[in-house]
């Protein structure tokens, strides 16, 4: 307890580094040179990554299984005190690797991307603060710590979406993101309270051990898990709290890659994985999650089909892919969900940074209607984007193929109808990604020719991170080979200790190897056909080009519905935003007229009486002094009589 072990020091240093970077760049960044700011900002995250690797190798060498680092007593709640403490186990190690690994790459990329901006140092300060918050989130050893990180990343997301604060639309998007997350956070907070009322502690280890005493589907377990999931809906942009994420694309592209694709939005999945015992005990909640997840996956995939902003397509794709991850969680396949979290972090970060490279090269153009034929003009970016697209689409043997296939196989084992829906979603995914790729890089250039003359690939600081991510997107899936190959699944084995108790609780349906192979073959054949049609023939080019135009009178209703995002924003405006403004104004009237009016009425009534008694007084105030003395007199009278 008293001795501070190597693991303690590594973990503490790991969290302290980004905080240090934030403080240095935030307080003194203005006086430092840009290269200095960039070096510090990226250096601390890279340092954190190396420390994560250190922890990982210690874990793999068997130095520890699960370790808690207590720093100080933070928050007394009744007789319990939440400690400022970190929990290192395989789950947090996995998240550490992803957050600091992908984080470092994106920091390095940002040096080039944001170089001309006057807020350069501010950008790195915020990014470091984000990494710090994210580390609190994934390392927190109790619910309040997780919540602190949870709100912290929300704050950074707010600051970074509104990074270009002169633009009113951007700051509106930032505010929307924060408020919508707060709706989820209220659920999360209530979930924490219910945990505390039930178990009398908020430490993860204690709560999960105690939870095993609860029966399956006990109301408390269902209540806790549902409330916590409301938080996840906000943070991980699931129905009905998903509309902030596409708007969040207002932020600089590295932010979209890091926060709104690879890390923060997966916090909800991490939380479920962290509380897997509770979720395993609440099948009702799991069903609910599955429902929400599949609805979100399909809804977002359909919307993505008709979006013309390169980042919006990717944003809806993220929402949809998060749906796939939650679907796995809903099946109780926690490790499968986390597998997709990891691979998605690789290829989606790659795609966003690739999109950033396109936008950067085109001097800020984001409309794919103004692009086309860039394949030969920015060949490096094209190759990057191609890898990302094929990985999302699920072409073997890229990483996305393995993780998505695992989800589909799990879902099929539970319910073939849901599998059909998710398969449809996969095809839509392949379609909108190929559409994006084709409209940006194939065909004829449709934009301003002035821009395209000086077109070239970006500097190397921006390209190296892309290469690393591309390699990871290709090979990242090999750690989780399909079961029927009998090669062993390193990923599952790694996470096994975390999910051991819940795996024992949940019934497991295993697919027959031939069934799994048949399903896989079918998926691959369908996706492969689409890829062939889109990239090797010209058959889909007409469809792609026509899909840019969804306005005119002759547009089919479903096209309109999809391109208008099912009018969800408009519906929320009508249902919640406008009424709340009206109620606010009306209540103000009620307050000044009715409530205060009553008080004033009472006042006038007393004034009427007092006028009689203060007739001899010089002024009103004196009158009340008299009242007071009368009161004291009355008091004395009571004494005398009593």
């Amino acid at each position: 307890m008293n001795s501070f072990s190597t693991i303690d020091s590594l973990t503490t240093a790991l969290v302290a580094l980004p905080l240090l970077g934030f403080l240095i760049n935030g307080l003194m960044g203005q006086r430092l040179s840009k290269s200095m700011v960039g070096a510090i900002g990226s250096g601390v995250v890279l340092g954190a990554f190396l420390l994560s690797c250190g922890l990982m190798s210690m874990y793999l060498s068997g130095a520890f299984e699960s370790h808690t680092t207590n720093l100080f007593a933070w928050l007394p709640i009744g007789d319990y005190t939440a400690k400022f403490a970190f929990l290192v186990d395989p789950l947090s190690l996995l998240m550490l690797m992803v957050v600091t690994g992908v984080g470092s790459l994106i920091h390095i990329y940002s040096i080039g991307y944001i170089h001309e901006d006057e807020g350069f140092y501010k950008f790195f300060a915020y990014l470091n603060l984000f990494i710090f918050s994210m580390l609190l989130l994934v390392l927190g050893a109790n619910f309040p710590m997780l919540f602190a990180g949870w709100e912290g990343v929300g704050l950074c997301s707010y600051l970074l979406i509104g990074f270009w604060y002169k633009n009113a639309d951007y700051t509106a998007a930032a505010q929307k993101a924060f408020v919508m997350n707060r709706i989820g956070d209220l659920g999360f907070l209530l979930g924490i309270f219910l945990v505390f009322s039930t178990f009398g502690t908020l430490d993860f280890t204690d709560v999960m051990n105690a939870a095993l005493q609860l029966g399956t589907d006990s109301p408390v377990a269902v209540g806790i898990t549902l409330l916590l999931f409301v938080g996840a809906m906000g943070k991980s942009a699931q129905l009905p709290l998903f509309t902030w994420l596409p708007d969040a694309m207002a932020g600089p592209t590295p932010v979209s890659a890091l926060i709104h694709a690879a890390t923060m939005v997966t916090a909800g999945l991490y939380m479920i994985a962290r509380c897997n015992v509770l979720y395993a005990l609440a099948p009702t909640t799991l069903h609910f999650i599955t429902l929400i997840a599949i609805a979100t996956a399909l809804l977002a995939a359909t919307i993505a089909v008709f979006q013309n902003d390169i980042k919006k397509v990717l944003a809806y794709s993220t929402v949809s892919q998060l749906g796939y991850m939650f679907a796995a969680m809903g099946m109780g396949a926690f490790a499968t969900g986390m597998f997709h979290v990891m691979t998605h972090a690789f290829f989606k970060a790659l795609l966003f940074l690739g999109a950033g490279a396109v936008i950067h090269a085109l001097h800020g153009e984001q409309n794919i209607g103004q692009m086309g034929g860039l394949k030969n003009r920015i060949p490096f970016t094209y190759k990057i984007f191609l890898v990302g697209t094929l990985a999302v689409a699920g072409l073997p043997p890229l990483s996305g193929f393995f993780s998505k296939d695992e989800i589909l196989a799990t879902v099929f084992a539970h319910n073939p109808i849901l599998w059909v829906l998710l398969l449809l979603g996969s095809l839509l995914t392949a379609f909108y990604m190929l559409r994006l790729l084709w409209l940006v890089f194939y065909g004829e250039y449709r934009g301003n020719h002035h821009v395209v003359e000086h077109l070239h690939d970006n500097p190397n600081t921006m390209n190296y991170p892309l290469v690393v991510l591309a390699v990871l997107s290709v090979v990242g899936g090999f750690v989780g080979m399909p079961a029927f190959l009998h090669l062993g699944n390193a990923f599952h084995e790694f996470l096994e200790p975390v999910f051991a108790s819940s795996n024992a609780l949940l019934p497991h349906q295993h697919l027959h190897a031939t069934t799994e192979m048949a399903l896989m073959a079918l998926t691959v054949a369908l996706v492969g056909t689409l890829i062939y049609l889109a990239l090797f023939t010209d058959r889909l080019s007409g469809i792609f080009l026509r899909s840019l135009h969804t306005e005119g009178k002759n547009t089919a209703w479903w096209k309109k519905l999809w391109s208008k995002k099912y009018y969800v924003d408009e519906i929320y405006d009508t249902l919640f935003v406008s009424p709340s403004r009206m109620v606010s104004r009306a209540l103000h009237q009620v307050d000044t007229q009715l409530v205060d009016g009553t008080v004033n009425g009472l006042g006038h009534l007393t004034a009427l009486f007092s006028q009689m008694s203060v007739a001899t007084q010089i002024g009103k105030i004196g009158g009340y002094m008299l009242l007071m003395s009368l009161g004291v007199l009355g008091l004395l009278l009571v004494f005398v009589l009593g």
């Binding site: 912290g152 709706i183 007393t606 009340y624």
Partner: protein, 482 residues
């Protein structure tokens, strides 16, 4: 003895300030800083039953009234709040003073107010408590009346009558209790705690005291004096009112009402907690569309204190922990907020958020300081307000989860209106009002630094202050449980 010193010192300061027309602020600052040093000494040497801090002398012998003051952890924290905020409140007058030829009177009143507030938070005799309670009203009323803005006569009169009316109820309640004590009657707090009351009497005492405290806090629907008074009062007055004075009401609940009439509280808890929660939501919703910064902050403050009242009235350990801590946090945050509003108004000549924009372009440092204050106001973790709101909501949750869900809406609404203020004033392009606004070279900005640091430090390590109050809270919970 130290407690008496903390009451006497500001009175001396008030007299000296009144006699120094030219440098009243310096006198006041010196006095409040000396006071703060003594308070910090008290905090550092504090231990339960410390005889240094207690004082007991017979005052009105025939009636058994004592001048009895003492500090347990709860009192100590509120005294700390009072004495820590006063130097800032004094400093915030720097802009008003040069154009005010009665500045000495104002500082004299502020210091008198300080004495009365310390008295309220340390009195251990019911009658003495009442006397300090009323004494605290006079200086603040005069400050609002003499230095207030539009309609000050009408508004301050209402404020005065309203709160006075409330305290008359309290006097009635205290007197009744006094008469129930064994002969010779006593107002001593221990004697009052020991009075055994029938359930009807508990209800009677509950209402008599609750109304007095509810008006001060204020709890819906006794709040209508508050937005007008906060808006019209000079900034120093608003700070005194919102930062410290409303805590008198919450303190009253904790020290006097809960232990004396716990069954009365239990009987009426549903009603009064619902009223408090109505206030939380009602205040927050009205704040959504306010344009006047001061009025918006007034409704926001009304919303926040509703949460404190509801959490405390639920009578849980968490509620008292949160209530006591959040009184400090809210005091600091609201004073910082009103300070920012005052700065903005002075530099831009307006309080309308639609007419102020883009200040982040001119002064990033100020924008950051303001942001931390906003973060505190929306109770982000690792700021002081999170600790309080978390515990208070948890307390309401124990009382009734559904009510906690409703009260919790405040974290959503709070984010909406505070971020709206921030976005409107700091973000966007500069406009005519803000073209030349920069606080970079303004010494006033330095007042914000200690406040902002407090917001963060109290959020990162709340335990130090909470530990001070913990024994007193457990003792109180014991008294309630009887």
């Amino acid at each position: 003895m130290l407690t008496v010193l903390l009451i006497v010192l500001p009175i001396l300061g008030a007299i000296v300030a009144a006699l120094s027309p030219n440098n009243a602020r310096q006198v006041a600052l010196l006095s409040t800083l000396a006071q703060l040093c003594i308070t910090i000494y008290c905090v550092l040497t504090f231990s339960q039953n410390s005889s240094l801090m207690a004082f007991d002398a017979t005052w009105i012998a025939p009636l058994g009234i004592h001048f009895k003051v003492a500090m347990d952890g709860i009192s100590l924290l509120l005294v700390l709040l009072t004495n820590a905020l006063l130097p800032f409140i004094v400093l915030s007058g720097s802009a008003l003073d040069p154009i005010d030829n009665r500045a000495n009177t104002r500082y004299s009143l502020i210091l008198a107010m300080q004495a009365a507030l310390v008295g309220v938070f340390t009195a251990m005799d019911g009658f003495l408590f009442y006397v300090f309670w009323e004494l605290a009203l006079l200086p603040i009323w005069l400050i609002c009346l003499l230095w207030g803005g539009e309609n000050r006569v009408r508004i301050t009169l209402k404020f005065f009558i309203y709160t006075l009316a409330g305290s008359l109820f309290m006097l009635l309640g205290l007197t009744y209790l006094y008469l129930q004590t064994p002969i010779p009657h006593s107002f001593d707090i221990a004697a009052l705690y020991n009075v055994a009351l029938s359930s009807n009497a508990q209800s009677g005492i509950f209402w008599a005291m609750f109304i007095a405290f509810a008006i001060k806090i204020p709890i819906f629907p006794f709040h209508t004096w508050q937005p007008d008074t906060y808006t019209t009062a000079p900034t120093q007055g608003t700070m005194l009112l919102s930062g410290i004075m409303l805590k008198m009401g919450v303190y009253g609940l904790i020290r006097w009402l809960l232990p004396i009439a716990p069954q009365g509280v239990q009987t009426w808890a549903n009603l009064v907690i619902v009223l408090s929660i109505i206030g939380i939501i009602y205040g927050a919703i009205i704040a959504l569309q306010q344009r006047d910064l001061k009025r918006l902050a007034a409704y926001s403050s009304f919303s926040h204190v509703g949460l404190i009242a509801a959490g405390v009235l639920a009578m849980t350990t968490q509620g008292l922990q949160g209530g006591v801590f959040h009184m400090l946090a809210h005091g600091i945050n609201v004073v910082a907020l009103f300070y920012v509003i005052d700065l903005l108004e002075r530099k831009t000549q307006t309080r309308n958020i639609d007419e102020i924009s883009g200040i982040a372009n001119n002064d990033r440092e100020f924008a950051i300081l303001f942001f931390i204050i906003v973060a505190g106001s929306v109770a982000l973790p690792l700021t002081n307000a999170f600790v309080g709101e978390f515990l208070l909501l948890n307390s309401i949750f124990i009382f009734n989860p559904i009510l906690a869900a409703i009260a919790g809406l405040t974290i959503i609404f709070g984010a909406v209106y505070m971020l709206r203020v921030y976005r409107s004033t700091m973000f966007g392009e500069l406009n005519a009002n803000t073209q030349h606004v920069a606080f970079v070279h303004s010494p006033e900005k330095w007042v914000l630094y200690p406040l902002v640091i407090l917001i963060l430090v109290m959020g990162i390590y709340p335990k130090y202050l909470m530990d001070l109050a913990q024994p007193a809270i457990l003792q109180l919970m014991g008294a309630i449980g009887q």
